[in-house]
Amino acid sequence: MKRERWQQLKSVFNRALEMDPARRALFLDQACAGDDMLREEVEALLASHDEADGFLEQPAFEVAAKLIDHDSGDLLPGSRLGPYSVSKKLGEGGMGVVYLAVDTRLGRPVAIKALAPQHTSDVEHRERLRREARVAATLSHPSIATVYALEEHDGNLYIICEYVRGQTLHEELAAGPLPPLRLLDTAIEVGRALAAAHEQGIVHRDLKPENVIRTPEGALKILDFGLARFQAIRPGDSLMPTRLTKAGMFLGTPAYASPEQLLGLEVDFRTDIFSFGVMLYELASGIHPFAASDSVATIARILEAEPADLAHIGPIVPPGLDAIVRRCLRKSPDQRFGSARELVAELERIKHEFAEVPTARKQDKVITASPARATMLHPLWWWQFHQAWIGFMYYAMLYPMWQVKVWTPGYRGPLFFFLSLGAVGVAANLRLYLWFASGFYPDELAELRHRVAPWIRWADVLFISLLLIGSIAIIGSHEVIATLLIGIAIASLGAFLLIEPTTARAAFDNNKTGPSPSRP
């Protein structure tokens, strides 16, 4: 239709519409004189107008709002997504919402991961995800949760994977480090799965305790293999998805990322070896090797710090494990294990050695994890012993102090005794308090020590001064006791100046880069 024609049509139509319908025919006869096409057109439009009641009346915006709300890919229980019938929402993971569903064709349960909406907008990004999902789906290993399909539904992307029931290693860690044999078995099983995937050229890129599940039957399953790029980007980073992933950068949890990942460098299977090392360290000790107050500090530690010796912090660590973990955690990928296969072989070797040690000796062998420490007790134990011993000794000293009081005439006797009592009370009680705290509140020990240290110091000084004053006061009448008191004063001085600081240093300062006990 030409524009001029449209103008004609418009004018006739508008006038006809304003008219009483009964007079329309007559009007059209005149207006479209000789132009049957125009008349036909106008009549059709008028008819269309009469039945158009309601047409386009409801603003599309209302529909659009509902539609865009569905952009998040929310699935309601009972709804269908292709052949999958959604049962319930399982939770929200790194990629988006995860649902439990049933594949109605096979009757088996599946997990559906609805990808965050930002994945659905960029065509190129979508294509990349599709390729990666295809690659991830080729993985078939008993310890790797299988990716069944990548589905598109209403413009949203969904990953359909094997549904795995059980507890993640992260949840397991909440109960503390794993016992040595379980630890080694777990590490070997995860390592074998890694090796199998790496041999197929697939890298996990986001290995962490949350991504490993132990099924009720005891089998391990690694989740989200090869799907690291599907991670959701936090709101506010709307421009980031393409840029980030194009640069091969990292989107997951920084705490388990390798240095090269954090630096945005090219990554290969050795990034998984590093993450595996972090996980192994944590499973063995219950402590994250690079734990810090916040994620920026954690990143800095991953890039720069050497983790503390496992043997120093881990309660029970199989011998040789520290060396393996250390090699996994090398900053330079070239210095790590050359393959997951090699890593597994090492783990199997130490497991074999560990299993050969008779059960009765296992405990010794375990505690003396590194040869240099073979004859030493745990340094914390010495410190604890010292604190307790001094505490009790102080109370024992109240008896000779009482004697001094008895032998000292006038007000000076009681004054002397009460000052002694005060010094003993502070110095002994605070030490016993620390001793107790080291067993029950190890996390707060450092701060407590810092807080009570000056009190203990001054109480010690006061007590030693009182010992000397008391012995001088009675030296004329009770030589032997006075000499004894002077001896005790000198011994105490030695203990406070030499022994106590030494035990404290051994217990607390032996690893300056040591981790704080808190998780990142």
Partner: protein, 183 residues
């Protein structure tokens, strides 16, 4: 499709569409969450609120309310069409490309509209008569009333009303034609 569409400004609408889209989307979610059953979403209220919020931003790329509504309308049109395409692609091989309005909005005898066909027809209409196409965009895609559309376009409500009648009748006929040729 968008190049042919007359924009209210020299700058391409797609430049600031993401801002408007994000805001509309955010608000829509917010509204839907507190919506009570049976109460339908007030499109105008939504667009107005989006406008007020975005107006506070000093870097706003549009000049005035009119311009904003033009962008909002075009945004909504694009959103809907893209969604319809995505559905179409998802159901490759299937013939179902309609977005049934009643599917999303509970109204008993709501007709279903082939959004892709509507979009194409609207583009043809814009060729013939940009003003009429704009009226449909404002009314249908941004949910403006006759009066609001008139204000936004700086023309009289009567003109909008006439234009709306014709455009609607014409579009309905075009869609019927499209439906017939498809069948």
């Amino acid at each position: 499709m968008m190049e042919k569409h007359p924009a209210a400004d020299q700058r391409p609408v797609s430049d600031f569409m993401p801002v408007v889209y994000d805001e509309l989307r955010r608000l829509a979610r917010h509204y839907l969450r507190r919506e009570r059953p049976g109460q339908s979403l007030q499109a105008t209220a939504l667009v107005n609120e989006a406008y007020l919020r975005l107006k506070r931003d000093q870097r706003q790329p549009w000049h005035d309310r009119t311009h904003f509504f033009a962008i909002a309308a075009t945004s909504m049109r694009q959103i809907l069409v893209e969604r319809a395409r995505a559905r179409h692609a998802a159901k490759r091989g299937g013939s179902q490309i309609r977005i049934t309005l009643s599917e999303a909005v509970a109204a008993p005898d709501e007709m279903s509209i082939d959004l892709l066909a509507l979009d194409q027809a609207l583009t043809r209409l814009a060729d013939l008569d940009p003003e009429h196409a704009r009226i449909v965009e404002l009314r249908f895609f941004a949910g403006l009333s006759i009066e609001e559309s008139a204000e936004a376009m700086a023309i009289s409500p009567a003109t909008v009303k006439r234009g709306w009648n014709l455009a609607r009748a014409w579009l309905k006929r075009e869609l019927q034609k499209a439906g017939r040729s498809e069948a």
